[in-house]
């Protein structure tokens, strides 16, 4: 059984009487431990797919089974619990809370998970060690560089030990070198057995993942257009790790 089973999912918006099909009959399986990228131009529906699978939004049609739970019928409270326990998000703009310290930001998912103060602290520091930022735990996000902030966000995504990590353009707001480091971090997490879904419009980034899914006009493209996406120009450093 796949970790995520997406069956005939559609998302339809109504804007001023006009029907917009952000997702159109998408079916997809994601296995546990997979490192997968969802690629597509902006407006293609890739973010919508991520939001629906990530329990931030609900589909108009279709079913999604995530780790054995049918999430299209779940209540908002159940969805919140799934987001808290089974999913970790990494966003393009980091989305750390500016008034909290790094440590408090990483602790936050556990606060909502109802974990006691002492354990929260220990686990948050462990997660920060994983991204080599334990020494910055007392800083505010604004005192860190973009790459560091994104690593804090990754630590926050990891701290509840989720089944699946969604990264939505995680390097989109970073310079190429820093972005490279973040991607290496994801790859490292992948080799540790984590399921990671990387959402990006950049074929070069998508190239680091073993499996790539291209979304066009709300549908999964039959075949990834490798020449157009430039996937044959894989950088050596990246290529050496990808299978």
């Amino acid at each position: 059984m796949a970790l995520v089973e997406i069956r005939n999912v559609s998302k339809i918006y109504h804007l001023g009487g006009e029907e917009i099909r952000a997702l159109d009959d998408v079916s997809l399986d994601i296995e546990s431990g997979e490192f997968i990228s969802i690629i597509g131009p902006s407006g293609s529906g890739k973010s919508t797919l991520m939001q629906i699978v990530g329990c931030l939004d609900t589909p108009s049609k279709g079913t999604i089974k995530l780790d054995g739970t049918m999430i299209q019928d779940a209540s908002p409270r159940q969805l919140a619990a799934i987001r808290n326990q089974k999913i970790g998000f990494v966003f393009q703009f980091f989305n750390l809370l500016p008034k909290l310290t790094v440590l408090q930001n990483v602790e936050l998912p556990m606060v909502y998970g109802g974990i006691g103060g002492r354990e929260r602290r220990e686990r948050a520091i462990q997660a920060l060690e994983l991204v080599s930022l334990a020494n910055r735990s007392k800083h505010r996000p604004s005192q860190l560089s973009g790459g560091q902030q994104q690593r804090v966000a990754i630590a926050r995504a990891l701290v509840n030990n989720p089944k699946i990590i969604f990264a939505d353009e995680p390097t989109g707001n970073l310079d190429s070198h820093t972005g490279e480091l973040i991607l290496q971090l994801f790859r490292k997490l992948s080799t540790e057995g984590r399921t990671i879904i990387l959402v990006t419009h950049d074929p070069e980034i998508a190239a680091i993942t073993p499996r790539r899914i291209e979304i066009r006009d709300g549908k999964i493209a039959d075949k990834v257009d490798e020449t157009l996406a430039g996937l044959n120009r894989i950088k050596p450093a990246v290529a050496s790790v990808s299978p």
Binding site: G54, A80, R83, L97, L108, V111, Y112, G114
Partner: protein
Amino acid sequence: MNFWNAIVVGLKEIWAHKFRSLLTMLGIILGVSSLVAMSALVKGMETGAKEALVAIGGLQKIRIEPGEVPVEQRHLQDQAPGLTMNDVYALQASAPLVTKVSPEYRVPRPTIAANGKTFRPWVCSGAWPVVLELFEHEIAYGRMFNEIDEEQGRSVCVIGTNVRDELFGSPTQAGREIIPLGETLLINGQAFTIIGMFKHYETEQERKERELGLVQDTPARGGRRGRGNFVFRLKNGSIYIPLSTATIKFSNVTPQRGGGAASAAASAVGDFGAVQLTSIEVKIDDVSLMNASIQQVRNVLFSTHKGIEDFSFRTQEEWADNIETFVRNARVSGGTIAAISLLVGGIGIMNIMLASISGRVREIGIRKAIGATTENVFTQVLVESVVIAVIGGLTGLVAAYGLVHLLGSLSPTENEPIVTVTALGVAFLSSVSIGIVAGLIPAFKAAKLSPMVALRYE
């Protein structure tokens, strides 16, 4: 997310916007402090009024006064006897619900003179010694006139401290207590010897102030326009003389039975049944039997007055009712005003909370994305609103003390405002409930934000 966390987050949010939070709280602070101050003022007045009510004899005292003959008895007016000593004796004999009877004859237009000074007292009356108990008088120096003084019609008097102040100088000016016992004063030209002086009557507040030495004596203090409740001024400005002496010296009733000059006085003492008394004060045992007691007195008086109702009753009940009515009205009107200012404070909180959440849409989205439930967000916003209200409420309670002191010093009444625990509790609880109510709409609005929409929000 537990409750404590929500409070801490709320406090941080308030601290992050100090000035804005202060302005928001100001509404609650003013509301709470005006509620407390209003209640304290009313309580002070109520206490003062009740103190005065007790000082004048309490609810158990009924005053019988000559009254207008009712229309249907007008043709009998010339037979109306008025209040006389016969009524007093009849009441003593036949009205068991009445425990004390005290006749009073007021000296008409009294002018007191002594020591080269003159003075018009509030009360100058002939009475029986029992008058002490009916008016809650207490002798501080000397003695009250007694039955022998009464029997012999002696020219003796007992004075209140204000009479002393006016004629012999006040102790605060002299720096020592002045006790004019044995001195002579003239009442409408008739000489009387002072044999006793009442204690100085004052409100609780005056007593405290005097004991603490807070009040430096002002020239007005000894005079009629000095501070102090009217009842206490009245009592301090009293002179009592034996009833017999008063009727002999100041009424136009001449002794009925003739005889030698030597026996004239004695026979007059025995026979002033015809003297028109100013009033009869009676004291009853049980206030709950007020109506029965009045009816009993009325029955007795009907018999002595041949059924002519030329008398009326005045009880303190009316006064007590007036106090109640006044207090209720003051509470309602003051409470309404304070409630309106609390409401304004609540609207301020709601406004600021709405502004606060629209500035934090993204934060709410992030929190939801990492697992905050609708309830978590709802609680957080609500707790913030309540925290503002609670801090405002507590500050308001502190501010109330200042406001009460300010009002106390500006107050037109002599009664010091009294801050009660109940008032503090009510004010505080209303601030908390205002905080909850004001937070509901913003909390609901924040809680129903979709995480996806919130995250996309810039």
